[in-house]
Every structure is written in structure tokens, then in C-alpha cells.
């Protein structure tokens, strides 16, 4: 792996950058692997990286139907935080956040993780009440969380309309200082490059069409590029989890919906932190390029469509203009959607399945990006040991049978 650093950049710059090599190989597919990960998104690539790095499992392939990082890792609003309500979620997201804090150095790839702080704002007594509960839980779980008054919020985000007579008065909120944003595509590329350097084969344009099993064990995958054998398979295919699982006859409690986002034209800096409002389904931050990135709510009907319903955008922008009156004259540049796989409790499934050797990491809903490092880490552990790490044990598929749901609808901040 070519080392990325300023001296190297200058040295190669003097030679016209002609001797940089591919960030990852176009790997030749082999007939058999110890572990196959389906899906070269953030979670899948992170899984491959930690498998190779921490568990010494390097005979690994990551199969991708399209282009690497083309799913939700390339479509999200890049927000990272860990202020979840229930212990199980708090622990895995906080573990993930800790990995984020040194991820650029770990991968030798600047993922531009920027801890500019994250505000959740409340517009009703009920919301304040719910946010207080979340702060209370966060603090005892070792997650930085503060309750803020309206005045404190106004000081941090002066462009937010905090006057009491708006339709959505800001009654208070919470702050996670360690929350922030990262350069989302870079996360996929950084993990891909680092995993590749450890010997992982990343194979794009290879679609899985079938899952072979024998005696209750997974044996191989059928793909558009032929059959590939493996005793351990991890499905990490946000937006397609049900489809892949059904190839193995597994039913999931997942519904797929479009989740939309948009970016505006670039502006000189107007505010620093990420601002989220669950009541009006808005989350907004300003990128380093100066664009405002706005996330919206999900479309109600199940759909794999990648356009999304413009009505959602209209509703979100009406709320944004009410909350941030000066954004009214700023213009929307691009609007897009990703497919989110949502579980009934808005928590993921990181779990074995009734088929031995077949594991799933799915159902992250709207919250997958922030979990990328932690999710990959625990899933790598799960694949390597064929059993869950304590951090992901609660996120089993069995919980839908036992009833031990982890209801994070409130903390997910987007109405599922």
C-alpha cells in the first residue's frame, strides 16, 4: 500500500502524480474463500478490514453488484453520533464513535471526521421530556450529552430562529460535542484500500444470484460470475437485505423505504454544528465545501425507488425555512434518495441465522453510516468466531420472536 502523507503527495506531485497506484486492486475472483462478504458498502468493507486486521482472516472476498460504495455509504448525510437511548444501542454506537476518532490514522486515509458537535432540538414539552431521558441515559452510559437551553442553542447556531412565536419554537435541546460528520465516500474507499492491502479480494460488478446450502450450512454463493464456495458468508446489503435473505429462505422483519437528502449551493460558512429536529424530520449541516446538506424523512410506502417523493422535500424545506429563515433564498442543487432497510424497532440486526455459517448485518434504517466502523468491527468478530460479540448480541434476529426489541424510534430522529 502506498503510504499517504504530505511528503509523498509533494514527491509524487513533482512527477505529475503519475506513479500513484490503484487504491485497491481489481481482484481476480477465486473459486473459494474462507469468508465471503456480500456488499462492498461501508459496513461490508469495514467487516473485511477488521477480519483481516484483527482476526487474521485474509482469505476473504467482498462481492459487489455495482460499484464499490454505491449504496447508502454514498448517499447518506454523513452524520456521526452515539447519543442513543437504550444501553445496547448506546454501547455499539459509542464504540463506533471511538473508532471514528482515530479512523483516518488507522486507515491512512483522511475520512475528514469532523467533531463539530451535534444538536438535537425540541419543539414541544413532550420532545424536551424525551430528550432529557436520552441525555440521562447517555450520561450514565459514558456518552457525552448535555441539555441546552434555548439561549445556549441560539448562541451556537445564531441563524436558527429561536423566537418563541414561530410555528416550531425551540424549547431546548441536547448537544453531543463529539458528534459530527465525516466524508462518507472516503470511508468506503479508505476501508477498501486498507482491506485490499491486507489481501482481501474486492470484486465489483459481481451480483449474487443464489445461496447454496447443505445440511443447514451455507456452502457457496451463485453469482453472475459463477459459483464461489465459502463456509462463512456475511450479507451486508442495505437496501437489499430481504432479497438476499430470501435466497436462503430466511424471512426478515425489514421494510425498505426511500430516504431522501439534498444539498444546496455552496456558501461561505454560516454555522458549525449539525442540527437535528425530529419533530419536523430535519437534519442539516454545512459541509467543508460550503453546501448545506439536508436530510429528510422517509417515504411511507415500501419502495426501492431511488427518486423519492418530492412532497417530503417540500415539507422538510418548509420546516427548514421556518427554522432557518435566512436559508429561504439559498438554492437546492441536488436531491437524491437511498434505500433504507428499517426494522420494527429502528435497530439493526447483526446476527447469525437459522443457516449455519450465514450471517446478516442489516436493518440499520436511517442510522447506518455512523455505525460503520463499529458495525464492521463486531461483525468481523461474529464471522471470525461464528458467534456474536457482546456488543451485538442484543441485535439478534431472535429478538423479534422473544419480544426483546430495542426501540430507538425516538433516537433515530427520523419518523420510521
Amino acid at each position: 500500500m502506498q503510504f499517504y502523507s504530505l511528503p509523498n503527495l509533494i514527491r509524487r506531485g513533482l512527477r505529475g502524480h503519475r506513479d500513484w497506484t490503484p487504491a485497491w486492486r481489481k481482484a481476480q475472483l477465486r473459486p473459494s474463500y474462507d469468508v465471503i462478504i456480500v456488499g462492498a458498502g461501508g459496513h461490508g468493507l469495514a467487516t473485511a478490514y477488521y477480519l483481516a486486521k484483527l482476526h487474521g482472516v485474509t482469505n476473504v472476498a467482498v462481492l459487489e453488484r455495482g460499484w464499490l460504495g454505491g449504496g447508502n455509504i454514498g448517499r447518506n448525510t454523513a452524520i456521526v453520533r452515539s447519543n442513543y437511548l437504550w444501553d445496547a444501542s448506546a454501547h455499539i454506537y459509542e464504540f463506533s464513535l471511538k473508532l471514528w476518532e482515530s479512523l483516518s490514522q488507522e486507515l491512512n486515509y483522511n475520512v475528514m471526521f469532523s467533531q463539530r458537535g451535534l444538536l438535537n432540538i425540541a419543539h414541544s414539552e413532550q420532545e424536551l421530556h424525551d430528550l432529557a431521558r436520552r441525555v440521562g441515559a447517555n450520561r450514565l452510559n459514558g456518552i457525552d450529552a448535555e441539555l441546552l437551553s434555548t439561549e445556549e442553542i441560539s448562541k451556537r447556531v445564531p441563524v436558527l430562529n429561536t423566537s418563541p412565536d414561530t410555528r416550531y419554537p425551540v424549547l431546548g435541546g441536547t448537544l453531543q460535542r463529539r458528534g459530527g460528520v465525516a466524508r462518507h465516500d472516503a470511508v468506503a474507499w479508505g476501508y477498501a484500500r486498507a482491506a485490499d492491502a491486507l489481501g482481501v479480494d474486492i470484486v465489483e460488478n459481481c451480483e449474487v444470484t443464489g445461496i447454496r446450502t447443505a445440511n443447514g450450512r451455507v456452502t457457496a454463493l451463485e453469482t453472475t460470475r459463477g459459483e464461489i464456495r465459502a463456509g462463512t458468508v456475511g450479507l451486508v446489503v442495505a437496501g437489499n437485505a430481504t432479497v438476499l435473505a430470501s435466497m436462503a429462505g430466511i424471512r426478515l422483519p425489514i421494510l425498505s423505504h426511500p430516504l431522501q437528502a439534498l444539498v444546496t449551493e455552496p456558501l461561505k460558512p454560516v454555522f458549525d454544528p449539525v442540527v437535528m429536529s425530529a419533530a419536523v424530520h430535519v437534519y442539516v449541516h454545512q459541509t467543508d465545501r460550503g453546501e448545506l446538506v439536508l436530510g429528510a424523512g422517509i417515504d411511507a410506502p415500501v419502495s426501492y425507488d431511488l427518486n423519492g417523493n418530492f412532497r417530503i422535500i417540500e415539507h422538510v424545506l418548509a420546516a427548514v425555512c421556518e427554522l432557518f429563515p435566512i436559508f429561504s433564498r439559498v438554492r437546492m442543487l441536488r436531491q437524491w434518495a437511498g434505500t433504507v432497510d428499517v426494522c420494527p424497532d429502528a435497530s439493526p440486526i447483526i446476527s447469525g441465522t437459522p443457516i449455519k455459517g450465514l450471517f446478516m448485518n442489516c436493518g440499520w434504517g436511517t442510522g447506518g453510516f455512523k455505525a460503520t466502523p463499529g458495525s464492521g468491527w463486531v461483525f468481523a468478530h461474529t464471522l471470525a468466531h461464528q458467534e456474536p460479540h457482546p456488543l451485538n448480541e442484543p441485535f439478534s434476529l431472535d429478538r423479534f420472536t422473544s419480544g426483546a426489541l430495542i426501540d430507538e424510534h425516538g433516537a433515530a430522529a427520523v419518523a420510521h
Binding site: S5, P22, G136, L267, F310, I326, F327, S402
Partner: protein, 994 residues
Amino acid sequence: MSQPFRLDHGGRVDRDTPLQFTFDGRPIDAFRGDTVASALLANGVTLVGRSFKYHRPRGIVSAGAEDPNAFVQLGHGARTLPNRLATVTAATPGLKVRHVNAWPTLEYDVMSAFGLVAPFIPAGFYYKTLMWPRRLWPLYEHFLRHAAGLGHAPDAPDPDRYDHVHAHCDVLVVGAGPAGLAAARAAARAGARVILADEQAEAGGSLLSTHERVDGLPAPRWADATTTELAATRGVTVLPNTTAFGLYESNLVLLAERLITDQPDSAGSENGARVWRVLPKQIVLATGAHERPLLFANNDRPGVMLAGAISTYVNRYAVAPGSRAVLFTNNDAAYRTALDLTDAGVPVAAIADVRSDPAGDLSSEVRAQGIAVHAGAVVRHAQGGRRVAAVELCSLDGAPLGAVECDLLGVSGGFAPALHLHAQARGPSEWDPTLAAFVPRGANGIHPAGAVAGQLGLADALRQGTQAGSTAAAAAGCSNGSDLEVPRANESTQAFIQPYWLPPGGLARAKPQFVDLHEDVTLDDLRLSLREGFESIEHVKRYTTLGMGPDQGKLANPLATGVIAELLGRDPASVGTPRHRPAYSPVSLGAIAGRHIGPLADPVRVTPMQDWHEAAGARFENVGQWRRAWYYPQPGESMHEAVARECLAVRHRVGILDYSTLGKIEITGPDAGEFLDRVYTNAWKRLRPGRCRYGLMLGEDGMIFDDGVTARLDDQRYLMFTSTSNAAPVLASLEQWLQTEWPDLRVYLTSVSEHWSNIALAGPRSRDVLAAAGTDIPLDRRDFPFMTFRQGHVAGVQARVFRISFSGELSYEINVPADCARHVWEALVDAGRPFGITPYGTETMHVLRAEKGFIIVGQETDGSVTPDDVGLGRLLSRRKDFLGKRSLSRPDSVRPDRKQLVGLLTDDPNQILPEGGHVVDSPGPRRPLPMRGHVTSSYFSPVLGRSIALAMVTGGRAALGERLYVATLHDNRWLPARSCHPVFYDPEGARQHV
């Protein structure tokens, strides 16, 4: 300034109406009809901006919405418009135009130093560096943030007004160029309802920039005449200044119309916007094509323009964008520009044509003018700093052909259909090798016509437009048999194009060749991207930021496709383009929000007593869309004091509460009792008419969904109360069960939430007040006991009175028709005055119910709470099934350590526990610290003279009296408390029975 580059005659500007605006403070003379760009060019201003990354000097490239450079800031203060294109902004008197992204001035921009280190900051450089030391990233980032961005946001709320309109038509025509006008005309003549939208201030498109003739008229006059005819036709709406920015499923088309005021200010004449949501039966897309730039060294120098744009400035605006021109082309279009320039008296020093044998009428005409045509030649380098000074030519294999002095270089690399809307609608397109571009093939109900469909000739565009308009009208069911009349124009053979993507090898490597001018993405950046394995067009886009600027890559993306294909040695069709996403041109957030802001942001629902509450000085809280009276402070009273006073009034005398927001559903039919049995956990069929019962409704997951009292009005009629927030969800859920699962049940549900207002009288004197207000209902406790209801009159109004209580006191909930509720409320207040009646709000209601240990759905419960968890297991019928019952026997539902509702009493009676504070057995600094649960409700109870709290605590019910600690939320303190039974006041429930 005297407009030195304004031509003496011609153009469509109104020379009788001169005007002046400023650019960076300098006065600029212009005429009405000018754009800011045409006026700047007329005044010889060629440097209009600095590039996004390297801050290189940049000039005007195009005459339309595709320009990558001409971003400026208009006006100042609240009405400023950041990042507007000078090429589409009308010049208006008093307009203040400023550059963006340069400091201190456009001419001397300190950030142009980035250009010096450009070799070391190629695409994606930041991924490779700025990682050490870790703690310095915020500093690096601070610098990056301030270097980036373009214009400035306004500094105050937007004073403009935005409108939304829903529109329906048979045929929507997007684009009013030759094909669009012809299509609209044909559709209108077939009797169709037509909407014709064009992004420019006047219809005509390319017709306004050409010397060709249509139906014997000069093309601009034909455009004017046709537009006038259309505007006068019934059922036709012509929308200038209107950009179609999105085409969604169901063929919903979104148009953004810029509203123009005749009293422009420093921000110009744009005064808000109107978004049209059009649902047409058929769509004609006549969106034209964008001319493609060409690659050569320093191809970003001011003075390098698209050839077609030069023609537009010359013919339409009567502006010569330079004084000596060179044209560089791979097709015929630039020859027309050469003729336009020559006509205007601007010498054309040379034409470099990629093609080895440029033949045809235009080429002969040009040669006849004595213009030097270099066949098989290309421009390899544009010399000059802030303006082109000369161009170096070479042959296709790189042999130098000398330099030609010029200050204007027109380029034409062919045309890329503006297929954005078509692509947004998932319409298929194909690579057309004769055009070297993707051409849309049409989709369900979408008819491309004219240049967007690859018909670049005028006669062809008019013919195809007419055909498309007629076909679309017929498909929409409009056809009156009128003959198709195709506007006539000179036939021209379609220019053949010789694709030219990459400059000859080994040339001018040190000088950048820009693929995306806005994003400063160079050919070398694309090479680097491919070299590092970022080969998919989406990878290239994301790695290099190709096409991600506010110009949305309109010029860059079609060029990049060809360049990447050639670099990879692949077919351009397999390379594709980045996915086209709305918006085609940027649309302001305010326009998309429309009028749903301020007072119209979202409905505010109020009860008939709202005026009274306001007059009484109530403070309000938002509960969903409802605005509810929260508490009624008297002058000088704090919230705490007001609530204490209201609480004590209810406990000792009488209070009155507006409880009208509760949901109310009449359930009628012979099977109404059976229906209630299925949806509530307890039994209902034996409830006698006239009696009330508390019910608990679960989701199928066994978790509490809603609660409330239901009364049996008569044999076949029940009235169900739901919580305020759940009024709509409960009704929707009940209808779903009834209609989809139990259609055999003979039950009708009717919402009466809005018909009946609900006024609660609570307190030991409430009976006296009700009597004093005048009622024909016997109030004696034997005639009207607890948990019954009576019909009669209260204060002269027909009423349903329910003896139910959410405070634990003697209480009557008086339901009266909403139009009489204000009268009854006032009558009760008047009658209650001798008894000390006190209006109370939702806060007091919460305290009173907490004293009684009554839960509030959504406060004690959160979707993970079963009836047993909150001590209501007794309401679970064993004899029948009900929604959610099966879930209550799942392993997790019967887990012994579930959280259960308990009371908490602090050691310090004045200490009010924080709601949301978490409960632990033993405090300490360890994190994570095992938690037992959390405080759900916490108040100071005035009647008890101490604080009380409700909490959900694991295994709490079995360990009442245990020592627990609650963590504070703002600091790191621990508040000691003991758990207790959750009913703090009148545990026997005697008071409500009196």
C-alpha cells in the same frame, strides 16, 4: 462607461431604455433586455469570477443556465441572492452585482496562491494528507471551510413571498425554442389545454439568436408572433422565466417561475418565485442541447467562450464579446458563429477545425469571406493571463501550426442534448455516434423534440416539434382533425461531428486543461482518478468532484464521458453519465417551501374556548397541532406558583379544564360491543347503557397504544374517548381492523371529536357549580354515580355529562356541541365564582393525575411498556382474545426484570427529581453504570407539600421501599429516593366517589 463592445445596430435590447447597475461598485451601462453578462461584455468586462479551488480568473462562457463561471452575488442584506448566474440575470437599474469567492478584490485575489501549489493538491489530495497530527484537523478544517464556499447567505429573514400552484393540462411543453413553440402551437390548435414553460424571460430560445427565417419571417419575429398567438389562445398558459427543474414519477413536473417585479432593487427584479406542480397528460420535452467545450491548455481563460454563446451575444444582445476571434470546432456550428461575427464587423482570424475535410454550404460561405480555415487542426494552448491573448494551433498529431493573436476564442465540441428531465424520469437514452452524445429516446407520455432529440437543424426541429405537439395532444385525447402545419425554414444538412476528446499526446502538460471549469477538475485529475482505480463514472464524480458545482456539470459531464471513454479505451455508451438528479437548475428553498411558512407553516388547531384562554392570560403548549392552555399565571406569578395554586383549587374547591382536544369516536351497530371486546383488553359487552369504563388498547406487539374511557350511550352505541395525540391514529387503526379483518362486524365508526367540546369540572365543589350553572340532570350521587353518564342540558345547552375523573376528585366532564361550548364554559365560570372556580391547564392536569398514579400514554409509556408494567394487569381479560394478547406471553414480556411503574419519594421533600433522570442502585463514577430505569413524571405536589415522581424501574414492584438514586441531568449529582406505591394521594379512591 460607454459600452465599447456594443454593436451599432441589431439585437433585441431596447436602446431607448438605458439603465445602469454596478459590478463590484463600478457603474455598468446597459439597456433593457440585457443580461448582466451581456452588459458586462458590452462594457469590456471579461473577468467575472474566480474558480472554486484554484481561484483562477474566469470569464463568461455561455449565454445561459449552463455557465460554469459567471456566479455572482446580487444585492445585499435580507434580499441578497448568492451564486446567481450573470448569464441568466436580467440587467436592471440599481442592481448591485458583486463577485464571489475572491479576496480582497477580483483582480488581486490572495487565494490565487492556490494556483501555485496546484501540482500538489490534485483531486482528492485531502484524502492523502492533513491527518497528522490528529488534533490539528479542526484547524486544517477551519481553513478549508473558509477557503471554500461561494457566495454569502442573506443576513436576515427572506422578505419575499413564494407561491405554489397545482396545474393540470393535456400537454406540457418544456422549452419554447423552435421545437417547443411548434409543439405548443400544434397542440393548441388541436384543442389541448397547454402549458408552455421556458426558463428565459422571452420565448424563442435559439430563434432569438439566429439570422435564419421561419415562415418567411426573421426567426425572432416568428417566435414573437407565435408566442402572442399562443398567449391569446384559450386553454394555453405561456410561462416565461420558468424553469422545469424536476420530472418525477406519475410525470409530475415541477416548474419554478421567477416572479418579476417592475420595481427592481439592488438584488434585481426577481421577487420571489412560484412553483408549479403540473400533472400533464403528456409532455413534450424541447429542452434543447448544450454546446460542448473542448480541451486544450488553459482552456479556462476569460475570452474562451462557447461558439453558440458568441452568436447569441452578437445577434440577440448586439454585443461583440471580443475584437478579434478564433474559432475551434469539430462541427459546422462554429461556422455560423464565424459568419455572425463577420457580419458584426468582428474579424475572425482563423478557424481550427478538427475535421480533415470540413465541407458543406457553411464552410464554403466562410471561406468565401476570406476566413482562414485550418482543417485537421486544433487549439493546443490559450495564451494570456486574465484574458486570452493568442492561441497556439497544432495538427492532430501535435505538430505546431503557429500562434494566432485574438482576444476571443469560440469553441464548439458538438452538442449534448439537455436530457436531464428525461433522465430524471428514468427515460432511456442511447449513445448516438453521429452526434457523439446521449440522445433521449422518449418514455411513457414524454416526447422529446428538437435539439434534445438530436435534431439540430432549424427545419428539422420545427417539423419534429409540430409532430410531437400533435402526437401528444392526440395521446391526451385532443384531436380536432385540423391539418398539421409545419412552420417552414431552410433545410440544412445536419453538421457531422468528428468526436474530439483528448488533445494530442505530450502537449502542454504543465498547463491545466479543464474538464469541469467550476470545480477546477482537470484532465490530469481524471487521469489520476482512473489511475487510482476510480473508473466508474460515479467514482470519478465523487473522487474529483466532477459536476458537483452549482452549474451541476451541465457542460462538464457530457465532455467527461467522452474523455473517460477515450482514456479507458471504452465505448462512451458503457461509461455513461453520472445519474441526473433534480434540480435541473438550482431552486431556492423558499420557493419549494411555498407559502407553508410563518402563520401558515402548519395548521394550529384551537378549541372554541381559545379566545377566553388568551384573555385569561393563559400560556400555551403545542401538543401535536393543537395549542392547549398550559397554565394561567396571574400577574407576577411564576409557572410553579400558578400550577400550585391551580392544583390546590382543584383539590380543595373546584377547577375547570378545557379538555376538548380528546378524540371522540361514536361506535354504532349491533356488534359494537364485540368490536370493543376485540380492541380493548377488558370486557365490554356487559357494560350497561349509561355506564362508563376505562379501556386499554394495545398494539399487536402487546405494548400500550392508547387508553381512555368509553361510555355505552345506548344498546347499540358507544362513545370512545382517545388521548389527544392518538385521536387520528386510533380511528385509523380501528377502521383498518374493521374494514380489512372484521368486515363481518356490523359496526360504524364516526369521529365526533370536533362536534363535542369537553369541559371538565373537577374538585369537591364541582357538583355545586354544575347545579348553579343550571342543569336538568339530577346530580345526587345515587342518581348519578361515579363512572356513569347522563344526557340533559347544562346552561341551556344539550349536553352529555360524564362522571369520570382524571384528577381523583369529584369530577364531571361536560360535552356540549362546540358552537355552544364557549357559552357553557362562561356559564360554568360565572356559576363557579362563588365557589372559587379556577381555570387550570394541562400542567396542573398532569400533576393531579400523577398524584393519583394515573399514567399518560407517551409519558409513562414509550411503545415498550405492557399493561402489567404499569400495574394494569388486572385489565387483561383471560376469557377472550384481544389485540396484542398473544404478545404478552412471549419470553421477553414475562421476563421478571421488566421495568415497572413505581413511585419515588426523595429524601429531601423539596427536591424535585429531573424527568428523564436515570435510576441506579449505587451511584459512582464508573461508566457505563448499570441503570434500573428512569423518572417518567416528576412534580411538586402542592396538596402533599412535597415532591413526587413516577418512574419505570426494573423489578420495581416487588421491592417497594428500596433505596435508589437518581442522576441529575446538568451536573453530576445523585438524588437519593425511595420507591413507593405509585398512588400518592387518596389511595382508596374515595374522593372521586363522593
